[in-house]
Subunit: 150 residues, 2 copies
C-alpha cells in the first residue's frame, strides 16, 4: 500500500481535493436530431470538459437502437455523463468535479446551451461533505442507510 | 432523423424508460488498500452491475498517481461511477439506472459492502421526473436555472 499523501491530495493532475460538486441536470425540449447524433453528443461532451476547465482522460460512448446515446467522460477531476432519449426530447446530464479549478456548473451550463434545451433543471450536490475538504459546503450529508428520493 | 419510438422506449436492451433513479453514495472509512487497487475497483464495478441487474456495455478506468482510482461503467440502463481517494479512505459512488428492471440502490448497497465502508450515506434522486414516466416519483424537480447545493 502506498503511503498517504496527506491533505493536499496532489496527483499528477494537480491538487484534487476529495469530494467536490456534482451537478445533476435535466434537459427537456431538446431537438431530437441533436440528441440522436452520437458524434454531436461526443463533441458536446468534449467542449463541456473544456468549458468546465477539466481534463479529459478517457471517453466512451454508445449509440442505442433504434435511438438514444450515452457518452461518458472520465476526467482527472471525476466524470461527466450524457444520456439522451431523443423520442422524449430529453437528456440526463451530470458532471462531478473535485478540486478547486474545474467547474461542474459551467460544464452543465454549456451543455444546456449546446443541446438547445427549452427547459432545464440543475441540482448541485456536495460530495464527500463529511470529509470537511475545501469543496465541502456547510450542510452535512446525513449519514443514513436509507434516504428519501429527492 | 429516425422516427420516435413512442412511450414504450424500447431499445435492443428492452424497455428503458427515460429518466429513472440516480443513487449518490458517499463511502467513508474504507480500507485504503482496496481503494487503491484498480483491478479490485473494476471487479467491484462489474459485480455491482450484476447485483443491480443491469447490463454492462463498456467500461473505462484510470489509476492516478501517487494514488486514487476512477472506474466508469456504461450500462444499457445509464451509468455507474466509482471514484476513490485512498488517502482519505473515501470513495464517491453513483449509479443511475433507467427502466423497470435494473436497481441502482442494490448496486450501491453491494459497493458499500465490497469497499467495506465503515460509514456511508445514500441519496436517491429522481431523474427526468417532469417527463412523468414510470420511473418518475411524485416530487417534481423544480425547473429552476439556479439550485441550492444540497
Amino acid at each position: 500500500m502506498e503511503e498517504g499523501r496527506g491533505p493536499g491530495a496532489v496527483t499528477e493532475y494537480g491538487e484534487l481535493e476529495p469530494g467536490g460538486i456534482h451537478c445533476i441536470c435535466e434537459l427537456y425540449e431538446c431537438p431530437p436530431a441533436l440528441l440522436n447524433d452520437e458524434q454531436f453528443v461526443k463533441q458536446a461532451l468534449r467542449e463541456a470538459v473544456n468549458q468546465g476547465m477539466a481534463t479529459l482522460l478517457h471517453e466512451v460512448s454508445h449509440r442505442f437502437h433504434p435511438q438514444g446515446v450515452t457518452a461518458l467522460g472520465l476526467i482527472a477531476e471525476s466524470h461527466i455523463a450524457i444520456h439522451t432519449w431523443p423520442e422524449y426530447s430529453y437528456a440526463a446530464v451530470d458532471v462531478f468535479t473535485c478540486g478547486n479549478r474545474a467547474n461542474a456548473e459551467k460544464a452543465c451550463r454549456y451543455l444546456i446551451r449546446a443541446l438547445q434545451a427549452g427547459r432545464h433543471s440543475l441540482r448541485k450536490l456536495s460530495r464527500g461533505a463529511e470529509l470537511g475538504g475545501a469543496a465541502a459546503v456547510p450542510q452535512p450529508v446525513a449519514a443514513t442507510s436509507q434516504a428519501a428520493i429527492i
